[in-house]
Symmetry: D2
């Protein structure tokens, strides 16, 4: 992360000659200083992806005007695009259950400003982690989920996320499956950490499945939530070595270390606008 | 690998008090020097596994007599057991197709004596690698496999393996599926390298599957061949990081590096009697 | 970790025939159930190492009597040995400065009982983390260290550690160099996490050193503290990939993830009596 | 690697506004199709680096004319730059001693066209690997090196490299230290694989040094050779886990797997013009 304030342009469009020239020409013309720029051509689909950081004070106008002036180019190239401002903190709502490893990890990063975000609230289906969250000065909402109240519970979560003006929802080992409506409403904005190396061991109890199959590595996957369980676009994955002497309980313990690291990395890529969704896959400009 | 000649005992039996005491007591009583010893208790199944290396010249008798004298203990504890002699080179038959990376890798290890084995022959469904194999002084058998001649071809492979007095068959990127009869005839003695991190991407074209799913790591799996495709006990696995910029061809290229390394590690564990099969899983005493 | 209460024997002695037989024979004779056992022969130095877990309720007597009865064997084989009881929680004193990542990580593990220890107190040369520590119900001692008061400060730390009846001291990114007296007084009982892959980049600002040298991986090292800076026996290490685009600040950020993971692993090995010091090296029975 | 013929521009220059705009504008103006483009700004040194692949047949002229037309821009921005043609195979001279693992690995990659290079000859201070090299149809030169003939030997190597019109020299576990003259004559064109994770364990017998220090990971480093031993710019590194049970011989064996992989990766980056040297460091556009 650069210390100076910057604007980040992310865009994708059909590939053709002159995209970089046009975009970088536009930026240079206004004196824009590019701090970082990344490009990717998907040869299979003929689509072009880019991410550019422009130093804010190198431009003679603000983000709104930058967007206005860029619009004709975006239209000309049929771009899906967005621009963000590094000075505008993202608002990230965390959903947790009883396990604390991801929550402690994220709050440590938030506390030390490694994650430069607002956490307007934490939502949980259990009340266990209230004290820890509230000690950090963050509001905590207990929204129990039972077989009978699911619709109401998810409506309440949607309401809290809306009320909190959330940008991003993070399922930090939240042990419930969100409703299809909720998933559909926020594509590319809900991150989950799944405790297996997807596509292996979809669904419940992946460490039990891994134990049964006798794999020699276990993993974790950070992905965007889509309507189909554990099938959304993968952002980040990692694995850790195990062996025959490890029980399911050992795997659960090792797995936590991977889960929190992979979630933190995936979340950072997302927050820094490094992730561009492309169908059910992602381009991640690290 | 120890330089001195040694005998390796591998055994498994129902767990109970006194197994190690009885076995190590027997060895000590004859002056046997244990170079290396490993034990594992499977708490779920109540089964005990062990592997012990005994320096050959510390014993006053040879392997045959050692086996005879050990038999009563094995019977008393209801052991599945075997003993091998580090001086008796294993006879490993390699099966290849057209890709050379695993073959070059294994022959380099054999040439340098890192793999202290006999390779009585290499069998292939293509003739491409004949020259390379024969330059190393190893007989090469071309056994074409077509949709029509499968039964005959597999019978010929079985015959060649038998004739070569093979201990172990290694499918070093052999692009054919062995017959169920062949698999059944040599349980725990045919090793395959599958070019995915199993259980993800079973069967054909795993790199294409990985590309479609957008995973961030690809892997390889060395396993014993069983009748069911890619379902046998896993011996070793590893992964390598990829990203959105990698095409299927890039994955194939990266994958080769993992495939040959994982196969070489798995094969070494097997040859040093470090792998004990337990149902569809393995205990690997590294 | 096994759920049943167990005693752990760790021992090393000159290598000879019959060590395992004698020790396991002794255990079996009293009906002792071995949950886990590991052995290592150092061929260079002719020294033998072992670690055995015995189920407590399989023995007809308690730990004290077990120790008494074992003593003659230990004497016979000239063993360095100790026995511990899984029911006796270790008392771990944490030393921190201002950085919170290792502290959050360790307290998350302690909170979830993954680390089954007592933390009688946290000591720091800064007051910043007091609130977080005290929220967890753990006493916090602020012991400022200046160029002038070093001797008094270290005496105070020694006093607090003694008063807390500490078994183990953990420097969880404590940015001061302990006094030689303190190091000498607790060999094999003070763990440090150094933010480089030792022996590269000893001393101050290792990430700056790594940046200057242009390495492609950075690491962290958990080691026992000895009198010579960053030269003590290494318990655990790991690395993470970086590239030319990473600034020193990026390395610091990535490094934290490695530091906390490596410290947690090293500490767990230590607490479970899996680490046997051998000269300036360690045997780690994972 | 793209299948279509392309030209690769690599350049570095003082950082300022408009570099990408100017370069990509020039390319677009002639209809140039950018297959891949990577940029890096070194904020500490204020220097900008880039690498661009342009599809050859998208341009209306050949490489020579492209270079001519680009020259004014290069001058304007004070660039260090070069352009290469993917159709022009690089000529890589290998230097080996007795160990074959890197040689087998590189020749397997060359044989399968993974490495699309010419190998005009292999030079060795021993005659052992002649047969293997010549079987591949590659000339082999035996240039013995003794304490007395060093100057003459290195002159002969220089002559052979010149005669072979070599672009790149690869020390594939060549166990001699090249003369300062030879190193000076070919900066950024001689690659070495050192069998440690530099800067740890410079010089001779790094595995012995690693064993003595008791590290828990060993590594390998691919770097450009400079006059100072093992101090040149690092291109690629990797590590592998070891433990207390591994002897120096085991490390040597594990190390080989890392050495050949790291050398192959580093060499590929170099051959694809992905490595830009910057002082004693490298920018590697993977």
């Amino acid at each position: 992360m650069h210390k100076d304030r910057f604007y980040t342009l992310t865009a994708s469009c059909p590939d053709r000659v002159g995209i970089v020239a046009r975009v970088s020409g536009f930026i240079a013309e206004h004196g824009g200083w590019m701090l970082e720029s990344s490009y990717h051509a998907d040869d299979m689909d003929g689509r072009y992806f880019m991410r550019i950081e422009i130093k804010a004070d190198s431009l003679p106008f603000n983000l709104t005007e930058l967007q206005q002036r860029f619009r004709p180019i975006a239209t000309e190239f049929a771009m899906d695009w967005q621009m963000s401002d590094s000075a505008a903190q993202k608002r990230v709502v965390l959903l947790v259950s009883k396990q604390e490893h991801c929550l402690y990890d994220l709050l440590a990063r938030w506390q030390s400003k490694e994650l430069d975000i607002e956490i307007p609230c934490v939502i949980s289906n259990h009340d266990d982690l209230r004290g820890f969250v509230e000690w950090h000065g963050i509001p905590f909402h207990h929204v129990p989920v039972t077989t009978d109240n699911k619709a109401a519970a998810y409506a309440e979560i949607a309401r809290l996320f809306h009320e909190a003006r959330g940008d991003t929802m993070v399922l930090a080992r939240y042990m419930q499956i969100l409703s299809p409506e909720l998933c559909r409403a926020h594509p590319g904005r809900i991150l989950n950490i799944h405790h297996s190396f997807l596509p292996s061991f979809v669904g419940a109890k992946p460490y039990h499945q891994a134990y049964q199959r006798g794999v020699k590595l276990i993993g974790a996957t950070c992905h965007y939530v889509s309507e189909e369980l554990d099938q959304g676009p993968i952002i980040e994955q990692d694995v850790i070595r195990i062996d025959h002497s490890d029980s399911v309980e050992d795997m659960v313990r090792y797995g936590k270390d991977i889960e929190k690291t992979v979630l933190a990395r995936g979340l950072r890529y997302h927050l820094e606008d490094r992730v561009l969704v492309h169908g059910n896959k992602t381009v991640v400009f690290r």
